[in-house]
């Protein structure tokens, strides 16, 4: 009896503890499909549309990687993960890439054995409150009930913020954004806190977005980016440079529309290298010459992806802000393709 219990225990943890460190690139190619961990549903970042197709800012990263590696942006299996399950899903090999608005932190990069390959959205944590509450600053939230997703960095920032300002609060722990929305709308919490981009996305989905405000305080740095497992640097390079290819494409004015034309006619050596017209950069990371061209063709360059999913023309309406190109005063900066 006791022995069988022990065996069951060990069996269960062994299965979740990881499938070893195989060559992820070879695995993905053999499988013919990229397993991409995404949010369970956050409008603009990753959410299935009416016909069940995943779309969003994070989803575009999955598509670009699939296009670069497998040649087809549709060859992605989207694995919805909650704040609690995402890192285990990545560590256990259930997903190859985690593109799920996850914050790059020291302990995640080191102790959790993840590798963040870059930042696709520079974010910060904010608060959303109902307008009739009459609150204009997060400093006025003393004693408030705050809805918070468990297992996120925001949970820790929240505790730190209230402690630093010598205020008290009542947390209401929730498991997913949808549940948070429901609790907030029912008035079960005074404020909802998560990344400012997530708040904008959540508010956009409300029936009455004009009755809710996002408070001006941004209480933390939340650099969100795709992550891969520690230990397979080649795979990490592929995801990292696919992201850079999208950012660089915007910088050089390569869009999904003029892509083919530029590949033939561009005289800019940097563009020629990126699109594989001259040097063969792809071979250095185990891909073919036109990997970056396909990645950009998948959903356009970084700016196009931003504008289509979360930009000012969408219901979510986020300004570029920190996420503008470095040439425009933002922080998005692709390393040179050379």
């Amino acid at each position: 009896m006791n022995k069988s219990l022990f065996l069951g225990t060990v069996a269960a943890v062994t299965l979740t503890a990881g499938m070893g460190m195989a060559d992820t690139l070879a695995e993905v190619k053999a499988r013919g499909e990229l397993n991409c961990g995404v949010n369970t549903g956050l409008a603009g970042f990753a959410a299935p549309d009416a016909s069940g197709n995943w779309t969003g800012f994070d989803v575009a990263i999955c598509k670009a990687v699939a296009a670069a590696v497998l040649g087809d942006p549709a060859k992605v299996k989207y694995v919805p993960t909650t704040g609690q399950t995402r890192f285990t899903a990545l560590a256990s090999g259930e997903v190859d890439v985690l593109a799920r608005n996850s914050t790059w932190t020291f302990s995640r990069d080191t102790d959790l054995k993840l590798d963040f390959v870059g930042v696709n959205y520079f974010d910060g944590q904010g608060f959303m409150v109902s307008k009739d509450l009459g609150v204009t600053s997060a400093k006025e939230l003393d004693g408030a009930t705050v809805c918070i997703q468990t297992g996120t960095t925001t949970e820790l920032n929240l505790a730190d913020f209230f402690q630093a300002n010598n205020m008290s609060y009542q947390p209401v722990n929730i498991d997913s954004n949808a549940e948070g929305e429901q609790q907030y709308m029912a008035g079960a919490c005074d404020a909802y806190t998560t990344d400012a981009s997530g708040l904008a996305a959540t508010r956009a989905a409300f029936a009455d977005p004009e009755n809710h405000i996002i408070l001006p305080e941004i209480i933390s740095k939340e650099p969100l980016g795709p992550a891969v497992r520690h230990g397979d640097s080649n795979w990490g390079d592929i995801v990292r440079w696919t992201l850079y290819a999208l950012i660089a494409a915007e910088e050089y004015g390569i869009t999904s529309k003029n892509l083919e034309e530029l590949a033939k006619s561009s005289q800019n050596p940097e563009v020629q290298r990126l699109l594989g017209t001259t040097d063969d950069l792809g071979a250095m990371i185990g891909l073919d010459k036109e990997w970056a061209r396909r990645a950009i063709a998948a959903s356009g360059n970084y700016g196009e992806i931003f504008a289509a999913n979360i930009g000012e023309q969408t219901p979510i309406g986020l300004a570029r802000g920190l996420n503008a190109q470095w040439t425009q005063g933002g922080l998005q900066y692709a390393m040179p393709f050379r």
Partner: protein, 418 residues
Amino acid sequence: MAYVSAPAEPPFRLSMLIYDRRYRSLTFQVIVFILVMAVAWWLVDNTITNLSAMGKDFNFGFLFQRAGYDIPQTLIPYTANDTHFRAAVIGLLNTLLVSILGCIAATVLGVAVGVARLSNNWLFARLMTVYVEIFRNMPLLLWILIIYAIFTEVLPPPNAYRGDDPAASMILFDSVALTNRYTSIPTLAMTNDPGSLDLGARVTINWATISFIVAILGGLYVRRLIGNWAQSIQNATGSRPTTWWMSLAVMTIPSIILIFFFGLHLVPPELKGFNFTGGINVQNSLVALWLALTLYTGAFIAEIVRAGILAVSKGQSEAAFALGMRPKRTMNLVILPQALRVIVPPLISQYLNLMKNSSLAIAVGYMDLRGTLGGTTLNQTGRELESMVLMMATYLVLSLIISAGMNIFNSRVKLKER
């Protein structure tokens, strides 16, 4: 002369391990043991290999790092500056809280419904059948979510109590506020606070609480003495003295004296800022989880109780009636003591189920052991294996303790064979 010589022992051959009945069972046991150990070794080895391949080690040092997150409802003091270990203990206490509350309420409900299902009142018995069938045939998780959603959507937010003409008003003489976040109940306050006993690790017990526990335990003891005294009089004279007022007095008078001595009074909660303060805010997640566990497990216990009562042969109650016993006394003195023998063993597994089912708490954000150690701590530290092993061991130990306790109770009520 004839003598019978013992047949010579045949020399031992290897095939005897299988064909000789004396050795066969031993052989198979050894083979199974080796196989089991081989699988165990393979699993452990596999775990170690995979962990080292990922560059992870197996240690519990993370338990003593700063937790950094807050927990809405705690039985002992806790702040974000405490360790993950304390957070795990908070979770364990929350698990125990909802389990104990659930076991008590489910037993009361289950016994009442089980008896009611056997009632002669047709409508009443059928209504109870409907309850049992509805609750035990739907998944517990759904019940937890439904009850929580009802609390969230139906009850007013604290804001509704604000203003000169509030949309909602407090109940029970303005002392209890039902909101969609929590139920705010009055807190106890004392004018003569005797101070607290420090148990270490910032856990304190007020001396007044200790005095009340002593008073109640003492009352129970004296009440038993009174019972024994009444029994001896009954045995000697045949008539039992009236003792209910004596029992009532020893149970209540010491407590009433203590209430006046400490100047105990209720402080009702009041709306201040965003929330009710001054009272005790019982989170809806706890109430919803407790209600769902109670209603769900109560349905199973009702069936166990009904089966136990039906297992007592009809002749027993007929004999009791023939002796002139009233139905209530027949139930208490004749039927239930015999039914308990049938009821207690399956009741143990219902208690175990309830305790384990309480780990569904995460669905409504109640921070039990699964929510702290197996949820936030696991996530923030990335120690899946350690957290899971620790959590499984804790649940195992809890289950074994419940089993042991109930087995002691069972051995007291089971048929005494002489």
